[in-house]
Amino acid sequence: MSQPSDERAAAPGAAPGPEAPAPVAVPAARGRTAWYFALRNRKLVGGLAVVALLLLAGAAAPLLTGHPPNAEVGPPNRPPSAEYWFGTTNFGQDVFSQFVYGLRATFLVGALGGGIAAVAGMAVGFVAGYRGGVVDEILNMITNVVLVLPSLAVLLIVAAYLDSRGVAVQAFFIGLTSWPWAARAIRAQTLSLSSRDFVDLARLSGTRTTGIILREIAPNMSSYLFMTFILLFGGAVLAAAGLDFVGFGPTDGVSLGLMMHNAVNWGALQLGMWWWFVPPGLGITAIVGAMYIMNVGLDEVFNPRLREM
């Protein structure tokens, strides 16, 4: 399953990854150039703005809306109005307040799930790439096993394991199942980095394996790792939404996926209550899409070849 030349494709197609064949090192001195390009990159700035805006909305949820997300506060089935910006649900819950509170869960799941996946992917990728040999083969095998197990189905089963499910637990398991491609990509990068002489020099200077990975290799891939994290973040958000949607979401609280689940379950489609299922999906798409576009921007900043002149 691992082609000698698959490093570039290691990032999954649906979550287009940093495609750089070689690690993108950003010397601090060139950092200024990076900033120069970062600030002028419309994709990066635009994506960041959207993410920031939604993050802010989620963080300031209690200020933006007076209603707790699940409280029945108004008449049921109302389309968007001045009073209820996004309308109300079958139960008379305020869709807007569900939306802004749901954003929190989305960001939490993304950050946590993406973070855990990134840590797992890095651990496996670094070790496999740096140690090589049998360790590499074994880790590769594990990676492949996790890769072929359809993660959503595994997640469904795991979700069914849990008596009660919280966002954090959900994120944890999403993280544990979504790291393989990241591990592969990081492994490939590590492999090429660890053949560099400075790694040998560090070994000659008495630096241990972990030290070399953390102090020499990882900093060199920092931009790459960051981009990987963004993609994992998006992946985690989507996975969580899928889980929520089929009814294995958090057993309590709100999330955007759960909103869609409820909307569908309560016949929003047939009853024409588009305001119930459009905003949550749009929210997810906006967050994940903005992140991805940000990623392209970052890629352009770090890879001069992709930059438009």
Partner: protein, 331 residues
């Protein structure tokens, strides 16, 4: 060459073994006792009847055996093509149930995967060509990949299905039809298939387009492209080469992506009440149907593995670098 495939096969078999074992373990260590919930559903009037039935079901499902024996039996059955009896759709054999659902899933997945891959690559290659195209294809691609599968499915169902009433939004063919070799039936199948297919296709499409666009930019800047241009080769030829070469990593990407797309199809099937594996998996989980769950899972895992293997084979056919490397053995 054969050694290479032998080695690959070995790795695949090991992966399969591990995956199957994990697969066996997952539902088994789930909380809750499926026999109990069966009994609860049976609403038997008296405790005595419950006890007798409980015993009966435990032996039918082989759950009274020690765990290791269950595991061995599982493999034994697997090799005989026997995946046990479904608990939820008792007493149907799992293989039969799967056989009923698999065609639908394949009918969705195979065209969606292949077409989206092909179209996405073409689109990406096109985008790499021009500024204007790049600026439209890219953002749309990103939005598509960022969409939750089911949301796109919902939007399509709502807009094209319910509001515009162009396509049916549930089931695999019209309620009034019997499967038959008629145009009406075929038309109905197609009409029901279209929206679920479209939603899968669209989400996957964006990813491939973006991937191809990035890869081809790298290819166009590569040494061989520069050399060809120095020799005055027309842009057309260089692009063709770049496209071909960029397809290779995309091919591996396909293998990596399969799992995700399959997962997406589960969601799509649920939205469109399409009677494939996805719906079975969901119900199997809800009904604690070990055997069905394992079977459905196994089908996916083996499917993904086989697809991976095929991709490996194809890769060897189309990428001389790999072929040469494996002929050279060590080098």
């Amino acid at each position: 060459m054969w050694r290479y495939f032998g080695r690959k096969l070995l790795i695949y078999l090991l992966t399969l073994f591990a995956a199957v074992t994990v697969n066996w373990m997952i539902p088994r260590f789930m909380p809750g006792d499926p026999v109990q919930s069966r009994l609860a559903r049976a609403s038997l009037q008296s405790p005595e009847a419950s006890a007798a039935m409980e015993e009966y079901y435990r032996s039918v499902f082989g759950l009274d055996l020690p765990v290791w024996q269950q595991y061995l039996n599982f493999w034994g059955g697997l090799l005989r093509g026997d995946l046990g009896i479904s608990m939820w759709l008792f007493p149907q054999p799992v293989t039969g149930i799967l056989a009923g659902a698999v065609p639908y899933s394949l009918a969705l997945l195979v065209p969606a995967i292949l077409l989206s891959w092909y179209a996405g690559n073409k689109l990406g290659a096109l985008a790499a060509r021009g500024r204007w195209l790049d600026n439209t294809v890219l953002p749309v691609g990103y939005l598509l990949t960022a969409m939750p599968y089911m949301w796109l499915a919902l939007l399509l169902a709502w807009s094209l299905g319910i509001v515009a009433d162009l396509f049916p939004v549930a089931g695999a063919y019209g309620f009034g039809l019997q499967p038959s070799w008629t145009w009406t039936f075929a038309a109905s199948l197609l009409a029901h298939w279209f929206l679920p297919f479209l939603s899968l296709f669209l989400v996957a499409l964006g990813g491939w387009a973006i991937g191809m666009r990035n890869l081809i930019i790298y290819e166009l800047e590569s040494d061989y492209a520069n050399y060809l241009e120095s020799l005055g080769a027309p842009r057309r030829l260089v692009r063709r080469y770049a496209f071909r070469n960029a397809m290779l990593p995309q091919l591996t990407g396909l293998a990596v992506q399969l799992g995700t797309i399959v997962a997406g199809s589960l969601l799509t099937e649920i939205v469109f009440a399409y009677p494939g594996i996805g719906y079975l998996i969901l119900q199997a989980i809800r009904n604690q149907d070990f055997f069905l769950l394992q079977g459905a899972f196994l089908f996916i895992v083996i499917g993904v593995l086989i697809a991976n293997f095929v991709v490996d084979l194809v890769y060897v056919l189309v990428d001389p670098r790999v072929r040469v490397q494996m002929q050279g053995g060590a080098a």
